[in-house]
């Protein structure tokens, strides 16, 4: 296994780079999508709120793999064609956005209504209050869920392999099939994921301690 790692580490690290990039883009864009979805669900009118609720339920109720297939194999019939990596990122953003919307909804609703009332009393509009008072608190509370989501996404981004987007898993498969070394190569890939995730868990724990604000204890 060591020899495989030594022979192929440039390819594997390139794949790992793509994996982390996909994860980062999907999670951060997912946050932005999640913010809009959760605000739509809580503060939108009935039509918006119901549409968003249904959208979130559907995305959360179906496998990411199927969502990926719909975007990569289904859309071309309607003239919409994406490169594998683009299709992967799009489906991850949508998927992550729906999950993050639910985390955010929970944390927005845990910010007491008195906070918005106090913002209004200073002359803020409802949306100013949401942006300057409610969201900053909600986003802070959602940090543990977000870092969880990031860890999940590192793992689930391996699904990009099924459509051939060249991330870590795909690079592994290419090396494996070229050299008929399936078990050893996949073992190396597994170890890389393991190490990377342990590192991120550690980093996130440190990060969460650092950004802690008195009165915003994360429960874990």
């Amino acid at each position: 296994m060591l020899d495989i790692f030594l022979d192929f580490y440039p390819l594997l690290f390139r794949g790992l780079g793509v994996t982390l990039l996909i994860t980062l883009i999907s999670c951060t864009s997912g946050t932005i999508l999640g913010i809009f979805l959760s605000l739509g669900k809580i503060y939108g009118n009935k039509l918006v709120s119901r549409t968003v609720t249904a959208f979130i339920a559907i995305i959360r109720g179906t496998p990411l793999l199927v969502q990926l297939f719909i975007i990569y194999y289904g859309l071309p019939a309607y003239g919409i064609r994406f490169a594998p990596i683009t299709a992967a990122v799009i489906s991850f953003i949508i998927n992550s956005g729906a999950y993050q919307a639910e985390y955010l909804r929970g944390s927005i609703q845990s910010v007491s209504s008195g906070q918005l009332k106090a913002a209004l009393s200073l002359g803020m509009t409802k949306w100013m209050g949401i942006i300057h008072v409610v969201l900053p608190q909600a986003l802070r509370r959602v940090i543990p869920a977000w870092t969880n989501e990031f860890i999940y996404m590192i793992k689930y981004s391996s699904l990009a392999y099924v459509i051939g987007a060249k991330e870590l898993m795909t690079e592994g498969k290419l090396i494996a099939s070229r050299n008929f070394q399936f078990f050893n190569v996949y073992m190396v890939v597994a170890l890389i994921y393991l190490v990377v995730i342990i590192i991120f868990v550690h980093l996130f724990n440190k990060f969460e301690k650092k950004v802690a604000i008195p009165g915003f204890d994360f429960e874990r």
Binding site: G114, Q115, K117, A118, A119, L120, S121, L122, G123, M124, T125, M128, H132, V133, P136, Q137, R140, I213, P214, G215, F216
Partner: protein
């Protein structure tokens, strides 16, 4: 001799569902006056304050700030900038320091320059005696300190008057004094204030006029000494005597 009222309320009605909590309230406040509303719980005292800045829009009646009719104005946010509000539960923004809480209205609503806002925030925090806690978060402050931040936040907006909604009700008894002292100083400085409270000693010594409410009506209003010593209504006497018996006359 017509006085120009700063705040005037005419025939204010409000109900929650079937329950009519305000049954025609009229009162007026001149510049520099401090009026205190007292009365049993659930008689709609806080609702009046919430009606004024439409955190809870009134069902009917008219409210004027100087000569602007504010119950129907579309620019309620501008009105709210001119009327400070101090909450029973403080309403401090938990993600901001004491200073941040005082600054946010200035920077985000009044679009003030950050440096200038910070200067004002520090001045107001000093004014209520907690300049040393400018960088503390709400969860690190005692109830009395929190409420003083709440007052500083209202003051920083340079309001024409401040509404106090039971400002000491959430506080431990030993912490009410520091908040009442701040309010007493404000009254002496000539700030216009409308206060809902159960602190009878404070009401008696600070109010220019005492308003006794019960069952959605104003039963009696007038100088505190008169209401305490020589009220016209039996209910006023019963209520004030009972409270004075319970809590004593002084506040310290």
């Amino acid at each position: 001799m017509p006085t120009k009222h700063l705040l005037k309320i005419e025939d204010l009605h409000h109900s929650f569902g079937e329950d009519e909590v305000l049954k025609g309230i009229s009162l007026a406040l001149n510049k520099g006056e401090t009026k205190v509303i007292v009365g049993p719980s659930g008689t709609g005292k806080s609702t009046i304050l919430n009606n004024i800045i439409r955190l809870v829009p009134p069902v009917s009646g008219k409210i004027y700030l100087e000569d602007v009719e504010i119950t129907s104005t579309k620019k309620i946010n501008q009105i709210r900038q001119q009327i400070g509000f101090v909450f029973q539960d403080f309403g401090l923004f938990n993600h901001l320091t004491a200073k941040g809480n005082v600054m946010i209205g200035l920077t985000k609503v009044k679009k003030m320059d950050k440096k200038e806002a910070e200067k004002i925030a520090m001045e107001e925090l000093e004014r209520v005696g907690i300049g040393g806690f400018a960088d503390s978060y709400p969860s690190q402050l005692s109830g009395g300190q929190k409420q003083r931040v709440g007052i500083a936040r209202a003051l920083a907006m340079k309001p024409k008057l401040i509404l106090f909604d039971e400002p000491t009700s959430s506080l431990d008894p030993e912490l009410t004094g520091e908040v009442l002292t701040v309010m007493r100083n404000l009254a002496q400085e000539g700030m216009t204030m409308l206060i809902v409270t159960h602190e009878m000693g404070f009401a008696r010594t600070v109010a220019d006029e005492l308003i006794f409410m019960e069952g959605g009506h104003i039963i009696e209003q007038g100088p505190p000494e008169k209401l305490f010593k020589n009220p016209e209504h039996k209910r006023t006497r019963e209520f004030l005597f009972k409270l004075t018996d319970l809590y004593g006359e002084g506040e310290e």
